[in-house]
């Protein structure tokens, strides 16, 4: 049995009161609940305060470029499908810089999990608007307020028939932990968009702001019903639904390569005999 101590306990560079602390704890609890050993998990992260999260737990980690975690995760998972691959990064990383990869990852549907710390602001670079910032959101770099309409990742993901779409809130860590656990266990591309306050740079979407609006989806909600899911996913504003918004059993990308079932690619080097056959068609 894995216990939470095996995932370690590290000092972080985050502000006191930052939502990241409880997301990290929820994540560790989810990993323990799934029974995954740290050495069988690979985190891929980008750049930003959220992307530092995997540095604060024991597991394999590739901390790459801003916005590019999903392609790295795609290659890493295809090369070794035995690994549990979890991408963890922020809203700027995944919905801004990496927006094209987000769309492609939903289409491709690898069995990986994407956890997005969504605080509607850029923290690492000290408070610029993010793709999920509300219209009118004022920052030092957007002194007239944000003009562009916010990106709703949950709505987009459901619209694109993503395999698993959930929204959590750092203020409800136990609920969040079960969402992450379900996402990891779901076979297919799983998105967990996690709302969190940024205590330093977002004075609008505070803990209180979220707490007032967020509610956990009622028990009789059918997350496999796409029509219901589309309606639920479009809910935003006075009431923000939390929970598994949508899930389906789309076929998984890596299954189209039957040989991946033989184990990691590293363990099946090219055989010279088979190479020599290749040349016949060029003679």
């Amino acid at each position: 049995m894995v216990n939470i101590a095996e995932y370690g306990d590290y000092e972080t560079a985050w502000c006191p009161g930052c939502g990241n602390h409880s997301i990290l704890l929820a994540l560790k609890n989810a990993l323990v609940a799934t029974g995954l050993e740290p050495y069988n998990v690979l985190f891929i992260s980008g750049i930003g305060q959220a992307a530092k999260a995997p540095h604060y737990l024991n597991s394999n980690l590739f901390n790459g470029l801003h916005g590019r975690s999903l392609p790295v995760a795609t290659g890493a998972k295809l090369s070794n499908t035995e690994l549990t691959v979890i991408v963890e990064s922020g809203d700027g990383c995944n919905y801004g810089e990496g927006g094209n990869h987000f769309l492609a990852a939903i289409r491709r549907n690898l069995n990986i999990t994407l956890i997005v710390h969504d605080n509607q602001v850029y923290g690492l670079t000290k408070g610029q608007a993010s793709p999920t910032s509300e219209q009118g959101f004022v920052t030092k770099n957007q002194p007239e307020g944000v003009f562009s309409q916010p990106f709703n990742p949950v709505e987009i993901a459901v619209a694109m028939n993503a395999s698993f779409v959930a929204r959590g809130f750092s203020g409800k860590p136990d609920h969040l932990s079960t969402l992450i656990q379900s996402a990891i266990q779901h076979r297919g591309f799983s998105l967990v968009d996690v709302l969190q306050p940024c205590v330093s740079f977002n004075k609008v979407n505070t803990f209180g702001w979220y707490n007032q609006r967020c509610y956990i989806i009622e028990d009789d909600y059918d997350s496999t019903n796409r029509d219901m899911a589309l309606r639920k996913a479009s809910e935003w504003g006075d009431r923000i639904p939390l929970g598994i918004i949508y899930q389906n059993r789309r076929s998984v990308f890596e299954d189209r390569f039957p040989f991946l079932g033989n184990g990691p690619l590293a363990k099946s080097p090219v055989e010279v005999d088979r190479v020599s056959q290749l040349f016949d068609c060029y003679r």
Binding site: Y39, S59, R68, P71, G75, E82, L265, V272, L278, R283
Partner: protein, 568 residues
């Protein structure tokens, strides 16, 4: 009448079946034991636009393209207008009488419609060409049947009949066309272009992951690989963009699969941030850059050698790299294998720099000796470096032993958290976690750069052909090699003292390998497919040796021996 080498050009609009006809002819010639050099020139359009396929043929080894025109197969009138002035004294133009009304003693207007159904007229024309060249009807028929059995089942008989009709018609046509000298090469040679050789080289090297975004002239590497992926059990994926392609490759490599991407200048521009990432995270990746003329979209389907400085300096920050520049198709194969070995050994990005001419240039390639082949086996070298494992263990060579996530030494399944693999694009401590400790920063920069010494020990030195201390020394890199060698041969035949120095690897450079050769020559002439003499400048920067004369070509066409001779 025999001629030592013949240049056949098949020209017309895109979509007229020109490439099919040309490739069957090419394969027949290679099987018959001839050396060939193919130059493909096409416009960036699916249908329409002028395309040509030039096929230089000889029983002696030929290594360069030529402007000479001995036989033109014109599929449209425009081709006749374009090429008639270029025709050699003994040359002919073959054209369907319905296509052209040009009356000329050197134009053979063939009644293709009388001989075969319109649908098969290219096969009729192919029969005529084979007949003119003196090839055996059986051998060209066999290659044609193989092609159509594979690509258009059920049409082989009609195509073969049409071919025979064309072949026989020429036998009764009163022309005196120079025949090819009988060939002497043994059977079993391969018909390959540069991109196919890179694809086969990558598989032979042990590649297990390839990602790409289509871009001319690199795309046929992906096409070739796609045809072999299931059989050879490697992953190939078309990414949403080049940024994704190269990041996928880095991810796959991080978890143990030898990985490659292929693109051209514009696509490579998108990849450069990740080149730096691979350098920093010390993740091996092979990157093929098949050059075409820039800047920007440039001439998308033409050739150039203008991205040397770009590739050399790509990626921010300082980290080691190696750049191989194959000079012919065979070298494309061998240097791809070398690129994988070097990348995997030094955990850093390694480049293959080619261009459209070489990418598309078919040659007759001797069967490769696969006896020595030893595809990469990443598990054999994988080794837990410490307890716990340190991804960036400081070593004298700068090379840190790798393991892969989920696996310990020799790819044995991991069993403890002392076997974690942590990599970071931030500056990092030995365990892979990000750090702001500036003394660690210094030790990590020095560690990464120490790998340059190892890379230098692996360098493929330049190839010197000729006698030491020549009056004229040509310096080439990449695909200019063949034309430089032939130009030197021609000059030597005229009594000139001339030699060539051809670089198959342009980075790292080891001055001791070649500066004395440069200094011993009276005149040194760099020959480059660019406007600014990038390699000559690089040599000056690295060695202080100033190559004063540079022959440039940047009109989108490959350098030819004649192009060099006209400028010397």
């Amino acid at each position: 009448m025999e001629k030592l080498d013949l240049n056949v050009v098949i020209a017309g609009e895109a979509g007229q079946g020109l490439v099919t006809l040309s490739q069957i002819l090419t394969k027949t010639l290679v099987r018959a034991g001839y050396y060939i050099v193919v130059t493909q020139s096409y416009q960036s359009r699916i249908r329409g636009g002028h395309n040509s396929y030039a096929l230089r043929i000889s029983h002696r080894e030929v290594v360069a393209p030529t402007e000479a025109l001995d036989l033109l197969v014109a599929l449209d009138q425009n081709s006749i207008n374009l090429y008639l002035p270029e025709l050699s004294d003994h040359g002919f133009i073959l054209v369907d009488e319905k296509v052209s009304s040009t009356v000329h003693s050197r134009v053979i207007r063939a009644p293709l419609a009388d001989l075969a159904d319109d649908k098969f007229s290219n096969s009729t024309a192919l029969g005529m060409v084979a007949s003119l060249l003196g090839l055996h009807k059986d051998s060209v028929t066999r290659t044609l049947r193989e092609f159509f059995d594979k690509h258009a089942p059920g049409t082989s008989d009609h195509n073969a009949e049409s071919l025979a009709a064309g072949y026989d018609w020429i036998l009764n046509y009163p022309v005196k066309f120079p025949k090819l000298h009988p060939s002497t090469l043994p059977e079993g040679r391969l018909t390959l272009n540069g991109n196919e050789a890179i694809a086969l080289g990558s598989i032979s090297a042990g590649m297990k992951f390839f990602a790409f975004y289509p871009m001319t002239p690199a795309t046929s590497i992906a096409t070739t690989l796609a045809g072999h992926a299931a059989q050879m059990e490697f992953v190939i994926e078309q990414a949403e963009d080049e940024i994704s392609a190269v990041n996928m490759a880095v991810g796959a490599s991080f978890t143990g699969a030898p990985a490659m991407v292929a693109t051209s200048g514009g696509g490579f521009a998108l990849m450069t941030e990740t080149v730096s990432l691979a350098g920093m995270t010390e993740t091996p990746v092979v990157i093929v850059v098949a050059q075409r003329p820039g800047p920007s979209t440039g001439l998308p389907t033409r050739t150039e050698q203008s991205d040397l400085e770009f590739v050399l300096h790509s990626g921010h920050g300082e980290f080691p790299r190696a750049i191989f520049t194959p000079g012919d198709v065979e070298q494309c194969f061998h240097l791809t294998i070398k690129a994988f070995q070097v990348a995997q050994k030094y955990n850093t990005p390694v480049f293959l720099l080619t261009d459209q001419f070489l990418a598309d240039s078919y040659r007759s390639v001797g069967p490769f000796d696969l006896g020595q082949l030893s595809p990469l086996n990443p598990c054999l070298d994988s080794c837990v470096s410490a307890n716990p494992h340190l991804t960036y263990l400081l070593t004298e060579s700068g090379i840190s032993p790798r393991i892969f996530p989920g696996m310990a030494s020799q790819c044995v399944r991991a069993s403890s958290s002392s076997e974690l693999v942590i990599a970071d694009s931030d500056e990092h401590t030995q365990d892979g976690h990000l750090t702001e400790d500036l003394s660690v920063r210094i030790s990590m920069v020095e560690k990464r750069l120490r790998k340059i010494d190892g890379l230098k020990s692996e360098v493929v030195g330049p190839e010197f052909i000729g006698t030491a201390g020549p009056e004229t020394l040509f310096v080439s890199w990449g695909s200019s090699r063949g034309s430089v060698i032939e130009a030197a041969d021609i000059l030597a035949g005229r009594g000139r003292s001339v030699a060539t120095l051809n670089f198959l690897q342009v980075w790292p450079l080891i001055p001791e390998n070649f500066v004395s050769i440069l200094e011993a020559a009276k005149d040194v002439v760099a020959v480059e497919g660019n406007a600014t003499g990038q390699f000559a400048r690089l040599i000056r920067r690295e060695t202080g040796f100033h190559i004063k004369k540079v022959i440039h070509r940047f009109d989108g066409l490959p350098i030819t021996p004649k192009y060099i001779l006209d400028r010397i």
